[in-house]
Amino acid sequence: MSNMVATRDAFGQALVELGAENPQVVVLSGDLAESTRAALFGEHYPERFFEMGISEQDLVGTAAGLALGGKIPFVCTYAVFAVSRAFDQIRVSVCYTGANVKLAVTHAGLSVGEDGATAMTLEDLALMCSLPSMTVVVPADAGETKAAVRAAAVWKGPLYLRMGRSPVPVLEEPGADWQIGHARRMRAGKDVTLVACGAMVSAALEAAETLSQQGISADVLNFHTLKPFDCAALVKSASRSGGVVVAEEHNIFGGLGSIAARVLGENCPVPMRFIATQDTFGESGKPEELMQKYGLTSERIVAAALELLQPEGVRQ
């Protein structure tokens, strides 16, 4: 297996580098500075680092004020706490107000591991995508996290940056052309399209490798941005392959799968399969055990792709 790095670790480093380049960047933490790796920024730029304590509503509101005052605030806490405890502040003080706040959150998804369901979020993408003016970015690995942090700082308007706790494979380094809102084709193929975001991108690549050994070539698209969604990239691939598997570390309701299904339903209806959690909360366990138990694996992606390639094409 390739080198493994947690996106939160890449984030901590990227934030320090960003702080050196851009004096307008400030960081606010919800008493999880070590876990989110925001503490590194605080060590380098203590005057631009604000510990707000365990009070997410105030954390997000204060960030909105800093943004209105011309700063570029990065809000750092667990994804579940930012999104669930401060949804209304994100909605009104940030999005409706139009405050240039970056919600740079970690510990999203099942791969939180042993802390269990309360520390996980499997609903954040649905919630964040539903907010007008919010941009939603889910980097797949360390390299994309660095690219996303830099892009977020110059992106105008509210942005949700979703990162994970556990190490994930380091993929091909994103090029200088990496852009928010532009899907990346990670592997070219023609028989089936595999669509993924975040930690599931490496699983999709692994699945494509397995499929290739069976003579099936998979087109692998990395949707590191869910909103704005790169409709053209998906439609182009789906119209060629005729079948799409979507994989995400999120509930089956309201995430990447829902967006992809809508886009294809409108533009290019093809059979689809969805790898996601099945409307359930998580639980404690090792990250890899959880991914296995809840079906977020390359094996499940392979099985879904093979099902699509059956002549019947339609699930019983």
Partner: protein, 295 residues
């Protein structure tokens, strides 16, 4: 239509705490015009929040026409002192005040609460002079703290002010923000419109707030209790607040909900009730008489 008869868009470049009779009478007159404007606005829009707008008229007259640095010709002027109406349902008093300061033409008020309007039901940044969207209670003080942190980083002497309702203090975020303002020793200023009524009854019936001043003091705030309808008392309180640079200040403004219209005063119903036409005429007659008496 014509909502009030006074517009003064002169930029305010320095806070003015002058308590001379002449200046006080001028601000009293402005407060009455703002009340008249609020009643006319609601008579036109036929929905909105009268009581908690009328209780704030004196506070808003003092802030926008004397204390806050502001230039209506440049709503985004970087040296301005921003005001956040955290109790966003009092939007009518904010909109009337901004129009009277010349932030936008009075005719825009015709669009209040109307489809495609530039003057929405609650504060929205499409109205010039509105600093943030509010209306979901409890959010303004955090934003003001953020503005003050930004000012500190930028080396500016900005004084941002949050205007809170007393019922709004039921919201936990208010107390989170109270804590963080004191923690960072921000010279944040908050005005608390203590009119003792909220939509469901008295504040003490709905959810006990007292001892309210002690609560704020125990959170590390300087608390100044004033008659929120006394222009000199408000000017004095703001002067003290402006001189306090190492601590946040709460101006606990004791007010009367519906102030200035006899049959609305202290009436819980007038939180959001729209009176019948005849009563609107009576309200306007009372305020017009008060303005004549002031001259």
């Amino acid at each position: 239509m014509r909502y009030f008869s006074l517009i003064d868009s002169t930029p305010i470049l320095t806070a003015n705490f002058d308590r001379s009779l002449q200046h006080v009478r001028r601000l009293e007159r402005i407060a009455l015009e703002l009340r008249l404007g609020v009643v006319n606005l609601l008579r036109h829009s036929r929905s909105g929040h009268l009581g908690g707008s009328l209780s704030l008229a004196d506070v808003m007259a003092v802030l926008y026409f004397s204390v806050l640095r502001n230039d209506p010709a440049q709503p985004d002027w970087s040296a301005r002192d921003p005001l956040l109406l955290s109790k966003g349902h009092a939007a009518p008093i904010l909109f009337v005040t901004l129009a009277a300061r010349g932030y936008f033409p009075m005719e825009w008020l015709d669009e209040h609460r109307k489809l495609n309007g530039r003057v929405q039901g609650h504060p929205d940044r499409k109205t010039p002079g509105v600093e943030a969207a509010t209306g979901s209670l409890g959010q303004g003080l955090s934003i003001v703290n953020g503005l003050m942190l930004a000012a500190r980083l930028n080396g500016r002497d900005t004084r941002a002010v949050a205007v809170l309702g007393d019922g709004e203090c039921d919201e936990g975020q208010v107390w989170e923000a109270a804590m963080s303002a004191a923690h960072y020793r921000l010279p944040t200023v908050a005005v608390l419109d203590r009119n003792r009524l909220q939509i469901g009854g008295t504040t003490e019936q709905v959810m006990h707030l007292e001892p309210l001043a002690d609560k704020w003091r125990s959170f590390g705030w300087q608390v100044l209790e004033v008659n929120g309808h006394s222009i000199p008392a408000l000017l004095r309180a703001f002067e003290t607040a402006w001189q306090t640079l190492d601590q946040p200040t709460l101006i606990l403004a004791h007010t009367i909900k519906g102030k200035g219209v006899s049959f609305m005063e202290n009436q819980v119903d007038y939180h959001a009730k729209i009176p019948a036409d005849a009563l609107f005429e009576q309200a306007l007659a009372e305020l017009s008489q008060a303005i004549r008496d002031n001259l």
